[in-house]
């Protein structure tokens, strides 16, 4: 058996909330970049993010947790003021 993996019968997951263990940064080709001058802090991007990777910081600015951003670009698509652009990520 591989280390660190648990093989419950039938693939049952009995430890809730373990999706944080699955990082998505390796999926990403494009990375969101935000123009905070344009941003109105409406929060639509955070609502639409399928991975819950967008959060509000102390100053009310929306930030990206890049460990869990898979680069889908939905935030850029839904932003009403087009403050987010998806830029190819350099390795």
């Amino acid at each position: 058996m591989k280390k660190g993996l648990k093989f419950n019968i039938g693939g049952i997951i009995d430890e809730p909330g373990n999706s944080v263990e699955t990082k998505k940064d390796g999926w990403r080709v494009h990375k969101p970049e935000v123009d905070y001058d344009k941003c109105t802090k409406c929060g639509v991007c955070a609502m639409f993010c399928p991975d819950g990777a967008i959060f509000k910081d102390k100053n009310g600015n929306y930030k990206w947790d890049l460990d869990y951003c898979k680069g889908c670009g939905i935030c850029a698509q839904v932003c009403p003021v087009k403050a987010i652009i998806m830029k190819e990520e350099e390795k």
């Binding site: 993996l5 019968i9 693939g11 049952i12």
Partner: protein
């Protein structure tokens, strides 16, 4: 007026194979019935519905719109932590196929009766084993019955095998449509207390609904762990070989009936040069023909999955010729039972006979033909107009 004739618990009754299956299921106290009627399995569902309707059976009868839904509902119900019963055959079983894999993969100990019927096209409502053979790789245990008493007994045993902590796999008790499902014969119907003694109330260990223990059922397994889950399923199948034997002997102690060692039944094999191998009701016909011959025996395969390799090898150790009777065919190759027996047979002179497809009668004359041609270097389609 009830369709269902009166019968008595704890005594002999003349009932059909479907009745036997339905009464046995009732005595096992399932909480949910999920089945969609299909000929020739319909009577099972009717009987269960009737018993629920007249208050004899305390179970929820879920009306579904297809077999795909029937299997899905059974899966969902079982996953909440209760005992369930299903039934199907033929096109219905084929439609269930997707869910059958999910049920076994989730390791839910469901029991679903199958009244074996041929597959379309052309449409045939009559018996052969094409439907369960096509479900061979779904990960379900398959136990094939020879007569109505065995149907009754196998359904009760099935729950005990499926729910064993070393097994946790779904089971199909299989019996020939019409030939058994619509045949009335004497069946010893057990009492509720006998069955309760043998089969304790279901207590789900892994899958149950409890807000204090939130779980995910039906998770994703990436390439780094999928193989392990499949390996676990195979290990459970290996363990099922022992558990089926154990449950067969426990059943014998409680009810005084057993079927070979639970996996295979050996009939007059001691001094047999020629051994016939078959499954299901045809074995009754084979036995009556074997009785008229010297040096001929029958090995009946009761458990097709898991496949009892060791028992087959042992049973064939004195044989010189082996003939395998198949009521199904794998197009482009040979009969599925023949192919599998041949793979493990210590006897080189082995051949296969395709017969009884789509409900064609298998007569004693046909079995005589099998005995006469056993072990020759050719497979046969018996009784076919070429």
């Amino acid at each position: 007026m009830p369709l269902f004739g009166k019968f008595k618990y704890g005594g002999k009754n003349v009932i059909s194979g479907s009745d036997a299956g339905a009464i046995a299921a009732k005595l096992c106290r399932p909480s949910v019935i999920s089945a969609y009627p299909i000929t020739p399995q319909t009577i099972i569902v009717e009987r269960l519905a009737e018993m629920v309707n007249n208050g004899e059976m305390k179970a929820e009868m879920v009306k579904v719109e297809s077999e795909h839904s029937a299997a899905s509902v059974q899966m969902g119900a079982q996953a909440t932590g209760v005992r369930t019963i299903g039934a199907s055959c033929s096109q219905g079983l084929a439609l269930m196929n997707e869910i059958l894999h999910v049920i076994s993969g989730l390791r839910l100990p469901c029991v679903m009766m199958v009244a074996n019927r041929a597959l379309s096209a052309p449409i045939s409502i009559w018996n052969d084993h094409s439907d369960t053979m096509a479900s061979r790789d779904t990960g379900w245990i398959q136990l094939h019955c020879e007569n109505n008493q065995e149907i009754f007994d196998t359904v009760i045993q099935a729950y005990k095998i499926a729910e064993d902590k070393n097994v946790m796999l779904p089971i199909m008790p299989c019996f020939d449509g019409y030939i058994l499902s619509h045949l009335y014969e004497s069946v010893n119907v057990a009492t509720q207390s006998q069955v309760d003694n043998f089969l304790p109330a279901y207590k789900a260990v892994h899958h149950y609904l409890d807000p204090k223990r939130p779980i995910t059922i039906g998770s994703v397994a990436p390439p780094n762990c999928y193989t392990e889950f499949k390996f676990q399923q195979q290990k459970a199948m290996d363990k099922a070989l022992k558990v089926i034997k154990k449950v067969n002997s426990e059943f014998s102690k409680e009810f005084g009936r057993s079927y070979g060692n639970g996996l295979v039944e050996e009939y007059k094999l001691k001094n047999a040069d020629t051994v016939l191998i078959g499954m299901g009701s045809v074995c009754g016909t084979i036995k009556s023909v074997v009785d008229k011959h010297k040096g001929v025996g029958l090995l009946r395969i009761k458990s097709f999955r898991p496949f009892p390799t060791e028992d087959i090898v042992r049973a064939l150790s004195n044989a010189k010729r082996v003939a395998v009777v198949d009521k199904a065919f794998s197009f482009g190759n040979a009969g599925p039972l023949f192919t599998e027996v041949k793979a493990v047979s210590p006897v080189k002179k082995i051949n296969g006979f395709i017969m009884g497809l789509g409900g064609r009668s298998i007569t004693e004359k046909d079995i005589e033909f099998v005995i006469k041609n056993a072990g020759v270097e050719k497979n046969f389609w018996v009784n076919v107009n070429e």
